[in-house]
Subunit: 252 residues, 2 copies
Amino acid sequence: MLDVTKKYLTPVDREKIECRTCNVSHICIPHALTGSELENLDDICKAKRRIEPGDTLFHESEKQTRIHAVRTGSFKTYVTNSEGMEQITGFYLPGDIIGLDGLGGGICQSTAVAIETSTACEIPEAEFSRLCEHNSELNNSFMRILSKEILREQQHMMALGQMSAEARVAGFIINLSNRFRERGFSATEFNLNMSRHDIANYLALAAETLSRILSKFQDDGHIDVQRRNIKVLDMDELHCISNGKRCSRKSS
Amino acid sequence: MLDVTKKYLTPVDREKIECRTCNVSHICIPHALTGSELENLDDICKAKRRIEPGDTLFHESEKQTRIHAVRTGSFKTYVTNSEGMEQITGFYLPGDIIGLDGLGGGICQSTAVAIETSTACEIPEAEFSRLCEHNSELNNSFMRILSKEILREQQHMMALGQMSAEARVAGFIINLSNRFRERGFSATEFNLNMSRHDIANYLALAAETLSRILSKFQDDGHIDVQRRNIKVLDMDELHCISNGKRCSRKSS
DNA sequence: GCAGATTCTTGACTTTTATCAAATTTCGCG
DNA sequence: CGCGAAATTTGATAAAAGTCAAGAATCTGC
C-alpha cells in the first residue's frame, strides 16, 4: 500500500509507476514507444506526485513547462473569466494529458484540480521536445494527442451549442462509459467521482436541471443512479436521447 | 490584378504571396523564422489555392496531411453531429491556421468553408514536421499555435456555458475588433463578412436573437451596424456588457 | 433596373431552463 | 453513533432565449 501521508512518492513508490508497468500506457503518450525509447521517457518523467482531492495540479497564469499525464484518479480543468465565473472544460481520467493550453512557452489559462486522490506524471516540455526530435513516431503520436484535444473541445462546443439539456446529459454518460471501457473498466457501471455541481457546470446546466434529468432517466429506466454510482441499463436509449431522438417513448 | 477565373494561382501569382512578402506573416507560422529558414518554409508551402465563397478548403472525414494557413479572405469551420446539425467552431482570418484537429495522421472532423473569395497556403504536415525537427524555435512556435487554438476553444466554451446572449455578442465584436487590429486594420470599423445565421450559430443563438441584440446595441448607441458593416462607437460599454455588467445604463 | 430569391429584422407567443426556496440525503468527524 | 455541514433532490415560479410568422431590405442574374 502506498503511504498516503507523503506528498512525493519515494523511489520505491516510483518504481511501481513507471510507464512500462503503467496500465494506461496504451492510451497515454508512450503508446507509440517500445523498449529503450520507453526508458528514455521514463527518465525524463520526473515528479510523479500524489495530489489530494481539491488540490491543484497547476494553476491558471502559471507558466507551463511541463506536460501532465494522469496516472491514477481524476482531475477537472476549468477556466475563469474576468468576473470570476468558472467554466469546467474537461474531466481527465488515467492516461489523459492535461495542460495542453500552455505549450510552447505560453501561459496556461486553465487550472487543474484533483477530483479524488490522484497521481500525475510530470514531463518537462523541453526534454520531451528533444525526445520528439529524435523519434518522429513519438512526435506524431503527440500531435495526435493535441489534435484529439482540439477535437474533444469542438465536440463539446457542439454539445453546448446545439444539444438540449437531456441530450447533453445522455452524451456525457456515454462519453464516460466509453472512456472507462477503453481503460479496462466496466462500461455500464461506474462512478461519477465529480460532484453534480461540477457536471452541471461542465454541461452548462444548473445543478437542479441536471438532478432533474438524472431522476427522469432513472424513472424512465435508462439508468440506475445511486449517489455517485451509476448503472447504465439502456445504452441504446441514451444514444437516442443524445442524438436528439426519443426512440422508445417510455415517458411523455 | 489576379485572374479570378483560375483555380490555382500561376507561378507569377505565387511569387506575390510568399511568406516573405506576406503581410500577415507576423501572426502566422513564419513569425519565428528568418532568412533561409523562411525560404525553406516557402519551399514546402505548396499549393496556394484560391477558394470561392461557399467552397470547402477541406471536408470532414478527410485524412488531413496538410496544415492550412489563411492568406487572404476568411473561413468558417464547423463540425456536424449524427443528426446533421452543424456547430460553427471558428472564424479564421488571414494568418490563422486551420485544420489542427487532424494532425498526427488523424481524420479531420471539421469542415472549412470560405466565407468570401479567399486564398490559403497548404503546408504538408510531414515536411513541416521535418522542418520542425531541425528548428526548435519553429517547433516551439507551432506548439504555441496549437496551444492557442486549445485556449481559444476553452474561451468559447466559457462564452457558451456561462455568458448571456448579450455578453456573447459583445464579446464576439470585441474579439473580431482585436483580431482586425492585430492585422493592421481598423479596430472600430470592419466588416462582418459572415452571415447573421453563421454568427448566431457560432454563438449558439437563434438568428432572431442575434438580430435583436445587434439592434439593441445600435439603439443604445454602442455600435452602428449597417448590414455587414459595423462601427464600434463605445468599446468600453461592449467590454462591460461582455463582462456581464451594465456600466452606463442607457436603456432599461 | 427589375423580379425573384435570399437575408435580415421585428413582433407575438412558447418553451426550455434557470432561479429561488425548502426538504432530504449523505458525509465528515468527534 | 450522532451532530452539523454540505450536497443533492424536488417543487413552484420566473426569465431568457427560441420558434413561428410576417414584413422589410438587399442581393443576383437577366
